[in-house]
Symmetry: D2
Subunit: 344 residues, 4 copies
Amino acid sequence: MRAVTFQAPGEVLVADVPEPEISHPGDAIVRIDATGVCGSDLHIYHGRVQVEQGFTLGHEYVGTVVSIGDDVHGIAVGDRVLGCFQTACGRCYFCRRGLFHKCDSSRTFGHGATLGSLAGTQAELALVPSADLVLRKVPQGMSDEVALFAGDVMGTGYHAVLESGMRAGDTAAVLGLGPVGLCAVQVAKAAGAARVLAIDSVPERLAMAESFGALPVHLTEQDTRAAVRDATEGRGVDVCIDAVGHPDAFDLALRLTRKCGTVQAIGVYAERAQVHMGLLWIKSLHVCAGHANVLGHVDGVLAMMSAGLLDPSPLVTHHMSLEEAPDAYALYDRREALKIVLTP
Amino acid sequence: MRAVTFQAPGEVLVADVPEPEISHPGDAIVRIDATGVCGSDLHIYHGRVQVEQGFTLGHEYVGTVVSIGDDVHGIAVGDRVLGCFQTACGRCYFCRRGLFHKCDSSRTFGHGATLGSLAGTQAELALVPSADLVLRKVPQGMSDEVALFAGDVMGTGYHAVLESGMRAGDTAAVLGLGPVGLCAVQVAKAAGAARVLAIDSVPERLAMAESFGALPVHLTEQDTRAAVRDATEGRGVDVCIDAVGHPDAFDLALRLTRKCGTVQAIGVYAERAQVHMGLLWIKSLHVCAGHANVLGHVDGVLAMMSAGLLDPSPLVTHHMSLEEAPDAYALYDRREALKIVLTP
Amino acid sequence: MRAVTFQAPGEVLVADVPEPEISHPGDAIVRIDATGVCGSDLHIYHGRVQVEQGFTLGHEYVGTVVSIGDDVHGIAVGDRVLGCFQTACGRCYFCRRGLFHKCDSSRTFGHGATLGSLAGTQAELALVPSADLVLRKVPQGMSDEVALFAGDVMGTGYHAVLESGMRAGDTAAVLGLGPVGLCAVQVAKAAGAARVLAIDSVPERLAMAESFGALPVHLTEQDTRAAVRDATEGRGVDVCIDAVGHPDAFDLALRLTRKCGTVQAIGVYAERAQVHMGLLWIKSLHVCAGHANVLGHVDGVLAMMSAGLLDPSPLVTHHMSLEEAPDAYALYDRREALKIVLTP
Amino acid sequence: MRAVTFQAPGEVLVADVPEPEISHPGDAIVRIDATGVCGSDLHIYHGRVQVEQGFTLGHEYVGTVVSIGDDVHGIAVGDRVLGCFQTACGRCYFCRRGLFHKCDSSRTFGHGATLGSLAGTQAELALVPSADLVLRKVPQGMSDEVALFAGDVMGTGYHAVLESGMRAGDTAAVLGLGPVGLCAVQVAKAAGAARVLAIDSVPERLAMAESFGALPVHLTEQDTRAAVRDATEGRGVDVCIDAVGHPDAFDLALRLTRKCGTVQAIGVYAERAQVHMGLLWIKSLHVCAGHANVLGHVDGVLAMMSAGLLDPSPLVTHHMSLEEAPDAYALYDRREALKIVLTP
């Protein structure tokens, strides 16, 4: 079958690879109908995250079940499904507490040996372990391009908001309006935020956030702290979502958040950084961090997307064929796209 | 000054009563601009809740501060304010835990000696004790008729949803589409419920709930349990709000709610009733009950109303003058109104 | 192999039954070292819960793994294990939320066709499905008779306290000092209750609760409400655990609990009952109900028992051989025992 | 009256100062029976926290009410009381949410103009504003030296544990065994921690923690990470309390805590620091920070101390007279004392 494979930093190749086979009773095989290119794929493309040469990429996907193992109960051959970007065992210490994202034997699609050697979904077929936990039927009437957000980007926006403890009536700020930040804006609004301040420096992204109901604030051309003070009687926001993953964003988040508020660091951090611990301490802030528990939240995300409360379709800027993947990666790398959907 | 006073079951009279005076440094006096007639007033009108003859009624109000005690800090003379239906001391065991509705020395406006001998707000002036806790400035641009919902009916809808633990993406049912039920529908939708089933037997109320985004279900002409099953893959709703206060409603709530879900009994119960404890137990349900903590939630309600996420104005069916109060009570008693706003 | 089988109300028989076999890759077979006789067994013995003639009884057990399926990871042949009284699939809607006790395909040991046709553990061998979720290794140094409480009675006491939201420093009351009530007393004390009032009418049980650190209150010879008032500055307890399962107990729980407190109905309810809904409502109480989520709590229970913070051994009043099961049931039926441990 | 006053870094003087007077109806005046010297006093003594020359120090106190304003309800003249180290208004945005430690107009005893110009309690008399919120009656039978811990050091230990979300059965680590760390050890044990690892480098403090039920781990002579692994099946602790307030402690806390666990930074941070954000992120940790909400927790602390579940008396190493304050400060500065109690 055809699949998008990593070759070297800056180089992906659509190549013939062996078809996957069921090897465990909990497995399913899905024929991919649509698969996304994501910011995480860029980390691999840039060589910052290392995968083996020839490894199949991709972890956002919608498709049709073509084969299942003996111990899969929730879905059947022929079901139209979407999947989560990682797997979980359902039985370890963390899974038993619903912390599927920290499963002791989790595997991530398309991320090479480091994350479990699980071939990616930018391919004609994908093997899905723990199919009962990882896959969900696509609700009636939902398009492929909407559905594939549930298992990754919208799931991440949902996690960011729900795990922050934000309540209806609160004011939130979202720093960084890439796909995750924009999804977080949608979720915060849909979950009842009275106001969402959306902060970035790209006018198109600010405009999209505004169209989702947020108050756009330009990072450098406006005074972000003044904007937050004006919106909160001087207190600061109840919840600040850092969808950037850079020390400057985290520092700004500490400043924009009210006493006893929450900073949700959903943007990726991988290194040491200077943090104003004094500010964190004197304001009695809460910090949560880490990637999303997409398996734990996918039902809620699907329910809201199905009801039309969340709609990621404006984020889809490009549709391309799987064979055009090298162009898609290059285009995404030039930051000319928010979300590219590939069709095998 | 003129005030609506209780005379006997079925009889209210607009009479001259003495003007209130500041007697404690935490007091404020508010000149009433608008005041509502509420379902609780009907309990008094019917004689089910007893108040003294001549007692001033009313507990929903918007107005202007005309005088304050020495120890009021949050508001000033001239401020346009709305108030909560009850007071709280801010210092007792319950207030210290934010449970203002269970304050050991709480007083309720317009409910006679039983609830603290605090004259009602269907009058030209009202004395407001603990003004810092009870009053809030009306946000810029909010009409009187919207603002007066914050301190009672919408506050109750908000409490019902928020205290139930409902999360964005959940499915809720609301039993009983009086003003509180309709407000609960609005709050549930605004807080991210994927679906809200609104159950009643009055077509106009069902239509209004539908206009708020709910799925209307006729109590007797439709199969409520089937409707819930269809909406929840057979599981039952995550949260069921009983805004009726009748054993039949509570019983239906137990049946409509999924295992480990929550039944929120916001409707008034005053007596013993048959309860299917076996059903409650085998489904591991949670039950919460009691009237709303309006003081604890008024900031969130105001923020959402101010942002346009909640809008009680469709519930206002009648505007009348204070002098017309006897007609207003009679009309409300005939169930021809959802909310009547009186203007002194 | 030998097993305790149900024959008719009032009659159990130790008989030869076929040995179990692994039929699913998640199964394990455990050679039973000790198994308890529990209050739930009495429901069957009395015919109130119906099981098939010849069905093997029992659901409390400690033993040694003698065989495992291909998909069991957490344990190995030769491990000394204890188990929970029910199974869970780990993948359904409820399991994914950690609500293992409400698993859509849960099976309970020794309860006949109604609860999943899973042979009981009062036998030489037991088949344990979903072994990864159901079994745990017995911590070093823990006796059989202590360990077998983790998967049922102590797990129930732990659930009752932890799921009630009780906090360190709170005051709790426990109604009914059978094995579950006594375990709840231990857990409440170990979890930091400043005071635990233990209420029953059996002097020996009151004395045991007192030895666990509770304040004993005789149900009929003392004034329970006065005792609670004295212990709580007149407020009522923060949490009241009804370990009885009778309308009178529930009614007393409503009266003993403070405003906004929690009534935890862990005792079994199967029918309709008169409930003082007015009291529930005016006090704004929370009610939780249902049997324990033992799978979800077994790690915490084991950690506390292993540290010596919980010690059910005083509850073990009798050790008997499996062959003496008919005598054991008769003795338990005469209420002469708190916990009988059978050894095959 | 006599009072301990700040003169210059390293110099305190017991001097005659004017007696306090009631100036607000919520005030009380307390005749001090015992007052502590605390680590926070040392910050002033060292000049790191600046107060005016001649300002009265101290914020831990037990005494007798000698005078009250017209609007104090919870206590009366003659009551033996203890107090919290800071005041709160009970009415602002933060107080209404129970976040008394972040009250917009909070004042701290003995900390000069920066924290509200409220004279300290190392004196014969102290003025206590918001007396209803700040003071509590000393429970029958509780000694002065125990009671004065409730409003500061033990309240801080209690906050650290309770606000971390630690549950009975969890494993906790406490870094830094000064008075706050040792109190946190006691609270964690009393709240049901299965294991508490107590980490420091001072043998006497490790021995005291061990006497409170903790597993002592020497910071430099033992391998702290190995000790945590051994105690947690390799996972890390559920909750790690940093009672040090130094970047090295915070870094160690990030390493010792399990995935999705909580780091509670109760130790004081005032500046920027290097933080391993990558570790925080990849482990999906929660961080809480800031000083304790002592007003919000004092009831729970008193209940547990009164029941004997918490006993700070072993921490009292010295009793001295108020006149000996200069010696007391010098001795505390030489780290020869854990807690010094001064008697006027």
